[in-house]
């Protein structure tokens, strides 16, 4: 069975897309979990500020999410563009 160059390039792009999104999801997942854990602690200590703390948590998580979105973009570029 002969494997052609174009086929090999496509295979590499598929593998790259999977690894990019897979590994890229680890960091944001763990990081956002830490934020949520500390937000729970903060609300436990000072329940009156729950609204402010929720907002802070969400903004922090959104920033942490950005690397996951970069991975998604690269994965989709590898799948559909290159």
């Amino acid at each position: 069975m002969a494997i052609e160059g174009a086929d090999l390039v496509k295979a590499a792009a598929f593998l790259g897309a999977g690894i990019s999104m897979g590994l890229g999801a680890i960091g944001p997942g763990v990081g956002e979990g830490m934020v949520a854990a500390k937000a729970c602690e903060a609300i436990g200590r000072n329940p009156k500020e729950a609204g402010l703390l929720t907002r802070t948590m969400l903004v922090g998580q959104a920033v942490s999410e950005s690397t996951g979105i970069y991975s998604l973009v690269i994965a989709l570029l590898l799948l559909f563009v290159v």
Partner: protein, 324 residues
């Protein structure tokens, strides 16, 4: 050297069996060691009730051990079972079964150590509630074991399904990808579920009056942490049960393998993150039970955001399976 189907199957079965037991031994051993370490500390704090602590240590370690017993079962099946010869695809699926169980036992083994360890410490602090602590530990660590059980289900499917109608060329990627998807995703959920369960045992010991709220928060948090491994299971089932057209090209097989890798790795982070969020919430429900509802709400919001990357990974996996 003549290489026939039987030789290929033997190579795959032995490599898979070794991987399953080797990786499967890591998690449970770490979890049990952590339990024993905390049990020693607990006995030194309160030597009068060493018998009770010792008993709970052993029960907790036995639950943590079950993950590696699943791996042992799969490894022995791979070594000694007479497999029906179904072609090279069957060999690939044996390797996938070994990968799945070996990786899948890691997180549950470590995770189950946390509730057992905190139960030992809790009994030293509050000997009166030892029965409540044992119950809480058993519930928590049973939930921790579910990712390992999901991995065993996928391993057994890969061992006993007949794949003879499926062409080898894209099929090998599908069966190995199916093993990797559930196996890797189970690491995060098992570990994360353990964090939540450990915090709940600590919380019950700190303030036994809050036990009901603490156990409820733990179960909700653990359930959300399990979703990552359920996404992995979903992708595995699609890869196992969908039929793929035969092809001469390499790229369709790599796409299926990559779909499994993507969902598997993608499930690790959200599983751990959801567990951390649940740990924080459970810990503070025990300290400030009047605001249990607020804590539950912020835990669920935080977990939902943390879950989003697992959903991205699932989207990319499904694109790899169905679109390209």
């Amino acid at each position: 050297m003549d290489m026939n189907i039987l030789t290929a199957m033997k190579i795959a079965a032995f490599a898979g069996g070794g991987f399953a037991m080797g990786m499967g031994a890591i998690g449970a051993a770490i979890g049990e060691g952590y339990t024993a370490a905390r049990a020693n500390l607990a006995v030194s704090r309160n030597p009068k009730i060493s018998g009770d602590i010792f008993k709970n240590m052993l029960v907790g370690q036995a639950v943590a051990e079950s993950a590696s017993i699943f791996a042992l079962v799969i490894a022995i099946l791979l070594l000694f079972l007479e497999m029906p010869s179904g072609g090279y695809i069957q060999a690939a699926s044996l390797l996938g079964a070994g990968l799945c169980m070996g990786l899948g036992a890691l997180g549950s083994g470590i995770g189950s150590g946390f509730p057992a360890a905190e139960t030992c410490m809790g009994i030293a602090r509050q000997p009166m509630v030892s029965a409540r602590l044992t119950t809480n530990m058993l519930i928590g660590s049973a939930v921790c074991q579910t990712p390992a059980i999901l991995s065993m289900v996928v391993s057994l499917l890969l061992l006993f399904m007949q794949f003879e109608n499926i062409p080898f060329q894209p099929g090998w990627g599908a069966v190995i990808g199916a093993g990797l998807s559930t196996g890797l995703a189970a690491i995060g959920s098992g570990y994360g579920g353990g964090l939540a369960a450990g915090a709940s045992c600590e919380g019950v010991a700190r303030n036994p009056n809050t036990a009901g709220n603490v156990t409820t928060t733990m179960l909700v948090g653990q359930a959300v942490a399990q979703t990552a491994s359920i996404f992995g299971l979903l992708v595995s089932f699609i890869l196992i049960f969908k039929s793929f057209p035969e092809t001469r090209a390499l790229s369709p097989a790599i796409a299926l393998l990559s779909a499994g890798l993507c969902m598997g790795f993608g499930g690790i982070g959200p599983g751990i993150g959801n567990g951390q969020a649940a740990q924080g919430a459970v810990r503070w429900v025990a300290r400030n039970v009047h605001h249990a509802t607020d804590l539950m709400r912020i835990m669920l919001v935080g977990q939902a955001v943390s879950q989003s990357t697992a959903i991205y990974a699932m989207v990319v996996s499904l694109v790899l399976i169905f679109v390209v």
